[in-house]
Amino acid sequence: MNLAKTGISPDVAKKTLWKRIAVNYEMYFFLLPAIVYYIIFHYGPLYGLQIAFKDFNGALGIWGSKWVGLKHFNNFFSSYYFWLLIKNTLVLSIYSLIAGFPMPIILALMLNEVKSNKYKKFVQTVTYAPHFISTVVLVGTIVIIFSPTYGLVNQMLKLLGMEVQSFMTNPKLFRHIYVWSGVWQSTGWGSIIYIASLSSVDHEQYEAATIDGASRIQRIRYINIPVLIPIMTILLIMNAGSIMNVGFEKVLLMQNDLIMDVADVISTYVYRRGLIRAEFSFSSAIGLFNNVANFILLMIVNGITRKLGETSLF
């Protein structure tokens, strides 16, 4: 297989470019379905993105519609919604990140100290399960549990002699319900990767530390946490890079007219203007703006971590 690489003159190597392709012709057939998929469903939309700079007209198609330059961008930037959407999006995702990021780490560190393997497995089984619950069922469950008429939470409030609340239509509560239900769903699954890296810690390190008089807390602080830092960095980069992308589906499902001031985010706005009101060009422009902002953020965060000499994504 590696004969081509060893001791053959460049002349022959050049001549064999086609041969090197031909030798692998089957592999190109293997690639074909995926390439067709990427061209149609990923590069097709990238080509279609030009309508952000056009006035899309169904009859003229993507290519034939008239160019209007930055009109849609200017409309969006100067609209009342611009800052509201940016604020709602950022608040929701930064709150999610701050509340959600440490939880899997804490759970992993605690599980790592549990001595009974059976119990550890059981806790893992339970805590991973919510990851597989669909967004629809999750939001449906929230609606049921917080229902003003028969919901569990209001039953509890009644027992405690407190007033019944309408949780889902209260703009003050939307963010908390969104974020903490997310923490409920993703903490267990998020801990897998940390648990796996903790299991790679050498036992001799613990023994040495114990002989030196380190307490359990100190062992966690000086042995376990440093082990997790590279993964934490990578996950933090990925999370920070998608800070302009909130969990669109869940926000959309939780929205109702009474909480739109806090629950409307960029992506749901794109959906509403684009698909409900069929303003294709305008909403594509917003989508593109969101995409570019995301991309820049990711590059900045990645650049910073690389400068700091820590692990970086690329």
Partner: protein
């Protein structure tokens, strides 16, 4: 982690740690138990807050009604179809492409890989994608929910990593020397060694098909094609009344009738949640061994 015999402070640490771990576990477990118990209870007890942990007034009427509801059952059937055919297409596209890209001697693999990775960080977005799908005539077809997510780039990366590192190359080379073609090597040698990867991919793709609803919302208008999650959304979130929730019995007073209706509706909400989660829960113990593997495969790339 039994390194030393427990000192007092060690024991205190263990107890506190155990309490916290158990507390987290209970917080995560309780809502699921509550939904399950309520679905098997008499709705009178549920709506008056008498069900806390175990079912009260054991009752499967909600389930009987759910199973008789044509809309829910159609949704179920459609989702089964989308999940099975969609996952098969996912597996085929992803495994084949990932194997090709894992071969060091493939001319052009870097540029192909780059172009695929690029779509993870930059995409056309919702509206251009919708317009492309519309112009292809895919709207409102059985195909649309199957082909629109044929390859997930993240899954492609973990598969490629697996083929590059997880399968001994000597075996492949030996097969080729023995006169096996490259595709033959893949199907006869590599695939049988890739059960863990296939398990992980089936898990990831299958669950995402089973749980998806947004594609159905924007691409389908034909009621007979919508997936289960979309029917669930109507029942659970938009609180629409379905035929299963209509109480029967003309002799009752209007008010009584209404009260019964509300109770039935709430009971059915608990039941559909359970019914829709059954396939995933049944598969859960079998798939569990792939969880760690899947996440670790993903982190190899780093």
């Amino acid at each position: 982690m039994a390194v030393t015999k427990g000192t007092t402070s060690d024991k205190i640490f263990d107890v506190i740690n155990m309490i916290f771990v158990s507390l987290i576990m209970l917080i995560i477990l309780y809502p699921m138990i509550y939904i399950l118990s309520s679905s098997f209870s008499n709705p009178d007890f549920v709506s008056t807050g008498k069900v806390w942990l175990f079912p009260r007034g054991f009752n499967i009427e909600g389930y009987i009604r759910v199973l008789q509801d044509a809309e829910i059952m159609f949704g179920y059937r459609n989702t089964m179809f989308y999940t099975i055919s969609g996952t098969l297409l996912n597996l085929a596209c992803t495994l084949l492409a990932a194997y090709a890209l894992s071969r060091k001697d493939l001319v052009g693999k870097n540029i192909i890989m780059f172009l695929m990775l690029f779509t993870m960080y930059f995409s056309g977005g919702m509206i251009p994608t919708y317009l492309i799908i519309k112009s292809l005539g895919l709207l409102n077809t059985w195909w649309v929910l199957i082909v629109t997510g044929a390859v997930n780039t993240y899954n492609l990366i973990i598969s490629r990593t697996f083929f590059a590192n997880g399968v001994p190359h000597e075996l492949e080379e030996a097969a080729i020397i023995d006169g096996c073609s490259k595709s033959g090597t893949f199907f006869k040698i590599v695939l049988p060694l890739s059960k863990a990867l296939i398990g992980v991919l089936t898990l990831y793709y299958g669950v995402s098909h089973w749980n998806s609803w947004f594609g159905g919302l924007i691409y389908l208008t034909d009621r007979s094609k919508v997936p289960l999650q979309l029917v669930l959304r109507e029942i659970l979130i938009e609180q629409q009344m379905k035929s299963a929730m209509v109480a029967s019995g003309q002799s009752m007073m209007d008010e009584e009738m209404q009260a019964l209706q509300v109770k039935l509706a709430s009971l059915i909400r608990y039941c559909v949640i359970v019914v829709s989660s059954v396939p995933v829960m049944v598969a859960y113990p079998f798939l569990q061994k792939y969880f760690d593997k899947g996440v670790m495969l993903g982190s190899l790339k780093g």
